[in-house]
């Protein structure tokens, strides 16, 4: 395998991992507050289609990002209302959000299928990009890739070092105790859910504005689900999420690697790899039941009603 190819593989792995990273970062904050939102795939799709339509309409990529973030948080608000306010089953509601987003995105996007836009340009970082091999692979990306990395650091700092992070974790670990010391549990959960939605919208926009860039039905192809698995894989730790996202990115572009090694395998079989990898990772992680229980936010998936104190 030559060096040129190695650079290409690294470059592609980071690009492919970025949407997973964005979505998983949103979901981990949401889960830390005790809410499991299985609607990531639906919110991603809505973010992708609304972002794309906004760019088609206005010609501005900024408007596309804004639209995607707004629609993502709006969708999550719908979810939040049902599970936080009404206490609906989080699993069923999340699934409904995905089915709803899949259907609605296909419907409103049917007019822009096949249209093309000018996606985000690459922004090489001066000097760093000139480093051999890793320079062009790591420092020649679009603004969203850099933002995702930056978001990791900021979120890790907020979660681990600030009062906001402490509040968030208190709500997720023990909402009753948090409520008792005066934390507005429902408000914290709403905000966490909306952050998750905004990030999912952004992750979707990455698909339609950068990765392809165009809109087709189901453009996310299960990435929302893979991001959910990623959060478990990362044991709800933000540093691990970044690592996991780029590893999954690597798994998704393995056909490039195998090509480099001179193997020829049907692209349809290789397309299975990220999904197979997700299953394998899930099995390895959850086999240690005790560890998973220990690491997951304690109140994950359980509704909290401040009117009924336990």
């Amino acid at each position: 395998m030559d060096i040129e190819l190695l650079t290409q593989i690294l470059f592609a792995a980071i690009k492919t991992g970025t949407p997973l990273l964005l979505v998983a970062l949103g979901e981990v904050i949401c889960e830390k507050s005790g809410i499991l939102n299985l609607g990531q795939e639906g919110m991603m799709l809505m973010g992708a289609v609304v972002g794309f339509m906004a760019v088609v309409a206005t010609g501005s990529l900024g408007m596309g990002i804004l639209g995607a973030v707004l629609i993502g948080s709006l969708m999550s608000l719908l979810f939040g209302f049902l599970v936080i306010h009404i206490g609906a089953n989080q699993v069923a509601t999340g699934l409904a959000l995905t089915i709803f987003g899949t259907g609605l995105s296909a419907f409103i996007g049917s007019g822009v299928v096949g249209q093309t836009i000018q996606g985000f340009k690459q922004l090489p970082i001066p000097y760093l990009v000139d480093i051999p091999v890793i320079g062009p692979a790591l420092f020649n990306h679009d603004i969203l890739v850099y933002s995702a990395v930056l978001a990791c650091f900021i979120l890790a700092w907020i979660v681990n070092k600030t009062r906001i992070g402490l509040t968030l974790k208190a709500v997720g670990e023990n909402p009753h105790a948090a409520n008792a010391i005066g934390i507005k549990v429902l408000r914290v959960r709403y905000l966490a859910v909306m952050f998750g939605g905004a990030m999912a919208g952004l992750g979707g926009a990455y698909m339609s504005l950068v990765y392809t860039p165009m809109w087709v039905e189901n453009i996310t192809a299960g990435r929302g689900w893979i991001a959910l698995a990623l959060v478990v894989f990362a044991s709800w730790r933000i540093g691990n999420i970044a690592l996991g996202a780029y590893l999954f990115g690597m798994a998704s572009i393995l056909h490039l690697v195998l090509q480099g090694l001179g193997w020829s395998i049907s692209p349809n079989l290789l397309a299975m790899l990220p999904y197979v990898a997700t299953v394998v990772v899930m099995v390895i992680i959850s086999a240690d039941h005790f560890k998973e229980k220990l690491l997951a936010p304690r109140s994950l998936g359980k509704p909290f009603d401040p009117r009924q104190m336990a």
Partner: protein, 355 residues
Amino acid sequence: MEIQKRKEPSTLMTFLSPVMAIVLTLIFGSILFLALDKSPLQALHVLLIQPLSDAYNISEMLVKMGPLLLCAVGLSLCYRANLWNIGAEGQLLAGALGGSAMALALIEFDSPLALVATLVAGILSGMVWAAIPTFLRLRFNSNLILTTIMFNYIALYLLVWAVHGPLRDPDGFGFPESALFSDATTLPVLADFGRVHLGVLFAFLAAIGAWIVLSKTHLGFQIRVLGADEPAARYAGFNSRRISWFVMLVAGGLAGLAGVAEVAGPIGQLTPVVSPGYGYSAIIVAYLGRLHPMGAIIAAIFLAVLYMGGDLAQIEMGIPIAVVGMFQGTLLFFLLACDFLINHRITFTKSSFKG
């Protein structure tokens, strides 16, 4: 306005909730059609009435109802036992793939047994596709939702690979399609006015069978207890692993049957697109039917009408076919919201009006 928790779940609301959800969905849809400059009345007529307007349309509707019902019956059993099997789509595709392999292997074999073998191969393939996530769940405690969804994608790519590779028709000019199945491996058509085939009958039988198991047998009782109150089931000494295996394998088998009935029925060969997402829609059917096999029949007919209506709306009014998925998603959402009323009561007191 005041919200109170009911002491007992309301039976009336359990049945009224799907009706309310459908009405709300239609209102939402009408607003959307207005926004698109289409007449809502005409659109709803094409979507909901026209599919039932003549014998041919009804038979086409039944052809779409078959796989929806088969998948939904299995899912209802799983959800009753609190097993979140989202894998009906993959199990359906596995059934289509396994059944096709058998049908193509027996293409020269002119006997009714060939059809039986094809159907059995489809059912077994669906069961295998359900068995893997079940095993991973019971042995390694892996998340059933995520594994079944991943297996949906894996089945899809496996099928696409097969239809481009080993199962492709050698005389098909390179098109990604298998050879046409022989008459012996094709499901007989039941009526001369349409394409209603034996698979549709299987779907009704499956629903009735599941209903009998669920309501009349000890196993069905165990399933219901396990779903409603797991500690109680454990205390009663029910074998939850055995129950899990049972519902998952039944669900996989039925979805597999749905898949093989598509390729050996209306399609007649293996193609890259076997299902327009029946396995996912079946989740909505199961919920809309209140996780009851008989309810699933009514719900499957409703969703089949919608599928059929979607086709007609695209042809006659230029409404994108995706309207079907949009309606389905909205329906499930409204349903979950309306289900709030099963366990809660909203009362309007005087004080709330004083404001």
